[in-house]
């Protein structure tokens, strides 16, 4: 299959693995930002091909994992209201809130539906004028244009029974938060290719300069990741710290301008709390004033109390690359995909889920 097979090719992978072995002379720690990349790494057994000098740590790029607990509780509360159709990407449904997940709310009678696109939720709202349709707008910059488009379209058509529960986060502030921490041990980053298809990579250039850290925009297939790792190592070994683009078949420096314009029209940047990490200034998106009437939190007041995270879950350390999932004492013992303590164990982009599903033989 074109555009897939060549990036899963065993020969190409072997050649890149040899090049990586030749290049690495010292221990280096590289963080792949996106949870999709983490899953490719563990699922393809890519770490078997790397020399001991190269350590991969897994970043915060799992939107489900960083959505705060109180927001999931709000989602459950809104979904459980009579007359509400609550729409979400499938990934979000299993994530535990403080008392239950959206799946459990559904089993309890809530009308929770999986959609593939936020525009499907707008269509549902159009078809059910007597119901309130709420979409859980989760994600990084990748999903922001479509989510913005849904709100924009609802506004244009006057579909007032549609609203969004916004939990949008941005990658560059998260990278800076990781780099700025005193315990940071990351030498280079593989930036999330799909985020950059939307945003481009110019915004990473000041980060690379300020922190003297190589950043390689990288794709999601095994050969992409090996090439991204090789490009990062070449920079590290030669003392360079630049932004490079491995994923040039999809990403341009300026990104997708019309998509960016739609985001800016509907959303503005604001502070956001990241589950397991805490509040990061200017790291999230919220609705701009003309669109605030579509804010589900304003439309459906729900009690937002202080909620306690499980004391045992190390999700925050895993999301910042400070611990590997199997270093958590609860991993695969008291925390499993069936009974998760934290979100990284259930999301299809969560690092703990990747290690549980594909990497348990390494323990």
């Amino acid at each position: 299959m074109k555009f897939i097979d060549e990036y899963r090719d065993p020969l190409a992978a072997r050649k890149l693995a040899q090049a990586i072995r030749r290049t690495a002379t010292r221990p280096w720690t590289i963080m792949e930002v996106c949870g999709g990349q983490t899953h490719t790494i563990v699922k393809s057994g890519l770490q078997d091909l790397l020399p001991p000098e190269v350590t991969l740590v897994h970043g915060p790029g799992c939107p489900v994992c960083v959505t705060p607990l109180d927001l999931i509780d709000s989602a459950v509360a809104i979904a459980s209201r009579p007359g509400v159709i609550f729409c979400s990407f499938g990934d979000m449904l299993r994530v535990p809130g403080s008392s239950k997940s959206l799946f459990e709310a559904k089993a309890g009678g809530a009308d929770v539906r999986i959609v593939y696109s936020p525009l499907d939720a707008v269509t549902l709202a159009r078809a059910n004028p007597g119901r309130q349709v709420v979409f859980f707008a989760v994600g990084f910059e990748t999903t922001a244009p479509a989510n913005a488009m849904a709100v924009w379209q609802a506004a244009r058509e006057g579909i007032e029974n549609f609203s969004v529960l916004v939990a949008h986060v941005l990658v560059p502030p998260a990278i800076e938060a990781i780099l700025g921490a005193p315990d940071c041990r990351v030498h280079a980053f593989l930036a999330a290719g799909h985020v950059c298809t939307v945003m481009g990579f110019a915004e990473y250039e000041p980060v690379a300069r300020r922190y003297r850290v190589p950043i390689v925009v990288t794709g999601f297939e095994p050969v992409d990741l090996l090439e991204g790792i090789h490009m990062a190592l070449l920079q590290l070994e030669s003392g360079r710290a630049e932004v490079e683009n491995q994923y040039s078949r999809a990403v341009r420096r300026e990104g997708n301008r019309p998509a960016q314009q739609r985001i800016v029209e509907v959303f503005e940047v604001g502070p956001r709390t990241w589950r397991g990490i805490g509040e990061i200034p200017a790291s999230g998106l919220r609705l701009r004033e003309p669109y605030r009437r579509f804010d589900a939190l304003a439309r459906f007041p729900v009690a937002q109390g202080q909620v306690e995270e499980s004391g045992e879950c190390l999700a925050g350390l895993v999301l910042r690359g400070l611990k590997k999932p199997q270093e958590c004492p609860a991993f695969a013992v008291r925390c499993t995909p069936e009974r998760p303590l934290g979100a990284p164990m259930v999301s299809s982009e969560g690092a703990c889920a990747a290690y549980y599903l594909y990497g348990r033989h390494r323990q």
Binding site: M1, G45, R94, Y116, F140, P222
Partner: protein
Amino acid sequence: MKKFELACPAPLPAWDQVLLAHGGGGKLSQQLVEKIFLPEFLNPELAARHDGAVVRLGGSRLAFTTDSYVVRPLIFPGGCIGDLAVYGTVNDLAMCGARPLYLSAGFILEEGLPMETLQTVVVSMGEAARRAGVALVTGDTKVVDKGKGDGMFITTAGIGVVEAPAEIVPASVQPGDAVILSGDLGSHGVAVLSVREGLEFDAPVRSDAAPLWEPVEALLKAGIEVHCLRDLTRGGLASALNEIASARGAGMRIEEAAVPVTDAVRGACEILGLDPLYVANEGRFTAFVPESQAGRAVEILRAVPVSAGAARIGRVVAECSGPVLLRSRIGGTRVLDMLSGEQLPRIC
């Protein structure tokens, strides 16, 4: 008088209500069976935990099985709920090494179901039964209020005569056995999803729904020592291999590059964020045979149209309760686990 027991016969399950994932064919389904059903119903036939039970009646060995069918949409490219209700049950019998003979069918119909839909489904069932060589000898119909059923649910039960000389059960699997797959994976699940999600492909993916006694009979007639068979329905190849590995207390090593998946199914799975190894099939099975007979078994299967795409995909290893490991295309190794519930489409 029987003494009144205060003690609860089975520990309460971890969940206080049934979730959709309990029906997904993954770990939660397994827990439901182990924690709720087995403690109450346990007997030697059930304990074999195969697709059907083998019971002795007089001098003969009969295979007996039942299955319920709930699918949306009721009609999809390559089949409908009626074909599934026939093939699913005859295939469970075939997986016991039994020639399927008789079926029963129970229909739960929702008020308002178009008569034309019912007619289409019933005609398909008749054709499927003739193709599978079984007779539908008894049945039942109930109608429920509108909104209380998803159009139509069908339950079938089946009886067959075991023709395999040795027991075909997970316990018969031996370390060193070859794992054979009867054809390409995932077309049933993708055919159903493509209608459900409104996806269109250049060449539509059609369900692989088909009866599987013919290839099984071919293996048995050729004298292949079949240790175990399992059809790959809900939960796909990955779940079937894990069920057998855990029931037998053995491990498996699978070669990803040897597992056939068509480009159309791969493409659809890429778009939907699904793994073809977990996608449902209705006309595929795995066979566990001695390594020395693996080549011949593949040849025999390839000569039968429904298993023309058969391939050897791995082997059984001794490691007690070791996991199923998969060697990826690029040469790395990973666990091929059972899912908790259904696969969910991901965010980006």
